[in-house]
Every structure is written in structure tokens, then in C-alpha cells.
Symmetry: C2
Subunit: 269 residues, 2 copies
């Protein structure tokens, strides 16, 4: 089910700059009991992405109405919202007047087994590196070739996520998730100044840590630092929090801290 600028259809103009240049943004939102979860946060991030890319912001209330309408009969699914700069222009130059395109689509919720959340998943390090790009870092934009290349590296169904380093050998995130680790009761996550996506679930976990007096450090770290962690977990808006139980040959316990944050998150939802 797809709404393009409020109309039910499945096709977009070739001239749309989302197709021509990846000139746009997206959000992936959990739908539960007919409601898009954390919708306001996702719409706020869309707006701030629009500001960073100088895309005309789409009316918040309109998006909210369309999103709720699309989701109201769905028990559990995934809502994807794509906003592009709009259609046309001469090459990279946009027209003086341009109307953003909004695409809202509903997708089946992935059937992840409960053991991922409860007992943790297996991750690997990807060979594909994230480039360094301060102008685009943090934004959930449509230029996602790096993630596509990284996700194509493995087929093994035992491996649920690939972790990506940037070209400076810093671990940044998973192909579809943000990354946290715990060491000596401190919580750590990657700095996203030069690469990576600032996820909604990441921001919620940072808030939960703050509210519960867990010291949190956002910094750059290497593979070796990560592998010396006490606990590791990944997160996004669809999976919530998954502990990592194994990266390559290194095993990690799923311990109290990760469980505690999972419980806080469930309550917060």
C-alpha cells in the first residue's frame, strides 16, 4: 500500500530527483496496533534532514495524518516515508520553484525470531568502508550505496548484521543499525561527525541512559576496543535492541546492562 503525494499509486516520475540523484530522505517506522511508533520523533528528524539538505520541509500535520491513516488497520508492519526534493531541474541544479515528493508505503514486519532480542545475534565486520563526509554525516538520506555494498557481502543466515568501519578504521555502525557497547559500567557509542546515520532508536537510548544516570560516551573507537567490551548491542526502530553475542570468533555475554536498557525501552514505548 503506497501513497504518493496523497494519492494511492505505485510509480514515481522518472524526473523525480530521488530517482535521478538520491536527492531526498527517508524514515523507517515500526507500526504496532494501528499506530506508527515514535512518529513525532521521526517527523522531527525528517524536518531537520530537510533543513540540512535545503529541501522544502513537508507539512508536519499533513504527514502525520497520512501516516496514521495508512497504518490504522495494520496490527504490525513497517511504515517507510520517503521525502524527495521533487521533480525536475537542469542537471544537479534544482528549479527555482519545486514541490517535494512524499511517498508513504506500508511493508510486512520482518519475522525476526525472539531469540535475537533475548539471546543475541551474530555479527561480522564488513569489508566495505564508510566514506568520510561531514556534509552528509548523521542524515538518513537516500544516498545508500555503501550500505547496499556492505549488505551484499554475506549470505550466511546465521549472521544478522554487518558492522561497518570508516576509512580511518573507526567502527561506526551496522548496515541497518546503530552500535553501543558497555565497558566497566559505562555506555559507549560511535561519534557520527564524519559518517553514519543518527538513528531514532539511538537517540532514545541516549535519552534513557541520561534519565537513568548511566554515563554515556560518544567517541571514535577501533575494532579492538569494541572487541574488548563487556557487552555490545545494536539498535534501530524496527528491531529495538539486539544484543550481539558473537563477532567473528569473539563471544560476548548478554548481561544485565543490556537487559536493563531493553526493559527501559519496552516501558518507554
Amino acid at each position: 500500500m503506497t501513497l504518493i503525494n496523497g494519492v494511492s499509486k505505485e510509480h514515481i516520475e522518472i524526473s523525480d530527483r530521488g530517482f535521478q540523484y538520491g536527492d531526498g530522505l527517508f524514515e523507517t517506522i515500526e507500526v504496532r496496533n494501528g499506530q506508527p511508533v515514535f512518529l513525532e520523533r521521526h517527523l522531527d528528524r525528517l524536518n531537520s534532514g530537510c533543513r540540512r539538505l535545503s529541501i522544502t520541509p513537508v507539512d508536519h500535520a499533513l504527514l502525520s495524518i497520512e501516516a496514521k491513516e495508512l497504518c490504522k488497520h495494520s496490527e504490525q508492519s513497517v511504515l517507510k516515508i520517503i521525502i524527495t526534493r521533487g521533480s525536475g531541474g537542469r542537471g544537479y541544479r534544482q528549479p527555482d520553484v519545486i514541490q517535494p515528493t512524499r511517498v508513504l508505503s506500508l511493508h510486512p514486519f520482518p519475522d525476526y525470531p525472539d531469540v535475537y532480542k533475548e539471546q543475541g545475534i551474530v555479527a561480522r565486520f564488513c569489508h566495505t568502508r564508510l566514506g568520510l563526509n561531514p556534509a552528509l554525516a548523521g542524515i538518513k538520506h537516500l544516498n545508500r550505496l555503501e550500505q547496499v555494498l556492505a549488505r551484499a557481502e554475506w549470505n550466511d543466515p546465521e549472521i544478522q548484521e554487518g558492522l561497518m568501519l570508516d576509512i580511518n578504521d573507526h567502527v561506526i555502525e551496522g548496515t541497518m543499525t546503530n552500535l553501543f557497547y558497555i565497558k566497566n559500567n559505562m555506555l559507549y557509542t560511535s561519534s557520527l561527525e564524519l559518517a553514519g546515520v543518527a538513528g531514532i532508536m539511538r537517540s532514545i537510548i541516549i535519552e534513557l541512559a541520561y534519565n537513568h544516570d548511566i554515563p554515556l560516551i560518544e567517541h571514535t573507537f577501533t575494532k579492538d576496543e569494541l572487541l574488548s567490551a563487556d557487552e555490545i548491542f545494536i539498535c534501530n526502530s524496527i528491531i529495538g535492541i539486539w544484543p550481539i553475542k558473537q563477532i567473528a570468533n569473539t563471544h560476548f555475554p548478554v548481561n544485565l546492562k543490556t537487559r536493563q536498557i531493553q526493559i527501559w525501552l519496552d516501558r518507554y514505548k
Copy 2:
């Protein structure tokens, strides 16, 4: 006029990975007297781009037939070919079997005045920096937000191109062109190991220089090195070669070397 997978239409599936992730490649080709100019070179580059991104290559002969058919009644225009990985997949992960999408479209030839070619153009330096990304450098892929942001920086019709630096302060290219300069009878162009697009016209100029015993150096250089050049020019498949007569307050002569390369190019065509 647009052909999508051989059928005349103007819309593409929302699920196309070109729209979802910028997961594809493109070529911009001059059409003159009913013929796409340097078509074989463009199709070869498409193929090598497909190999780098692990996109199933599209049948060369089929693309060539479609391109020629689309262009045969056009005196002068621009042919754009977009190849995407195809439709579908679960998130970044592509389906096991996937058919690339090919989009061929014909556009009016831009009405650039002859003085640009003859007397040179005015360029500026863009604030938007190119990120460093060895995995994607050189490829004419669909992840083009950097160029969109850079091209949005100016509206002054007196300025025809913006030059982009990478985050290491090296001058790489124009928003839509590659860059060459001449100093002490040597020809220089930017190395594209970490950023930039390896243009067809760039490769032709490198060949022309080789065939005419002009020493050419591909390297990294700063703004100051560029501004100390004897002559500067930019190139792409649509404009051919435009001398740069001015960058900010620095003026450059349009001298013999650039003229000579323009003449070689005209003959080569």
C-alpha cells in the same frame, strides 16, 4: 521521450532500488545528427561501473540498439542512460535474483553560448566538500547529493561552474565537469582515488595528450596550486572543453594549449 526496459513510459516502480537507495549508475551522452557520440565508451564505462557495484551488466548490444533508435531523429540533444540494480529486496539486501532496470531518456541540448567554449567561463569554489570514499570514487553512480548541494550554492548566471574540494583541501572537479590545468607546458588533472567521477571526456583528453606527447600528471593539488596555473579548463561529454577565464578574482588567459586540445578533440569527434 523515455524508454524503460524497452517500453515507452515516464514512471518507475517505487520499489526500484534506484529510487530507494540511489542503487545504480548513469551516463550523459551528447546526441548529434541522430547519433549518440562516443556511445561505445559510455556503454563500456556503464559496464565497468556495474562490475564495481556488482550490478548485473546490461546487454551491451541491446542498450546500443535502444540508444540509437531513441536518438535517430534528433539533430542535437542529450541522451541519459540510467541503470539500476532493479526492484525489490529486503532493506539494503538485494533479492537473490534481480533484473536491472534500464532507463533511456532524451533531453533538449542546453543552449550554452559559443563564447563559453571560445573565450572561457567564470568559475567559483564551492563550500560543499566532496567526502572521501575509495569504494565509490571514480564511479558515475546515482548517489549525487554532494553535487546537488554544491550546485545549489549559487544563482549568479555569470558563474558557469563550481569547483569542489575534498575534505583534505584537494581540488577534485567541477559539480558537473572534470578539471585540467596547464603549467610550464605540462598538463595536470586531479587524481580520483578518493573522490570524483572519472568522466568520458576526461579519459579522451588523457588519450589525446598521450597521442600528442603532452606530458600529463594525475595528482592531488590545492586551490593555491590551481590558481598558479598558466591555463585551466573543464570538460564533460556535453560541453566538450570550456577554458576557465576567471576563478574568484584570479584571471587566466585562454592560451594556445587549451585551444590546441580543443582542436584535437573536434577532429577526434
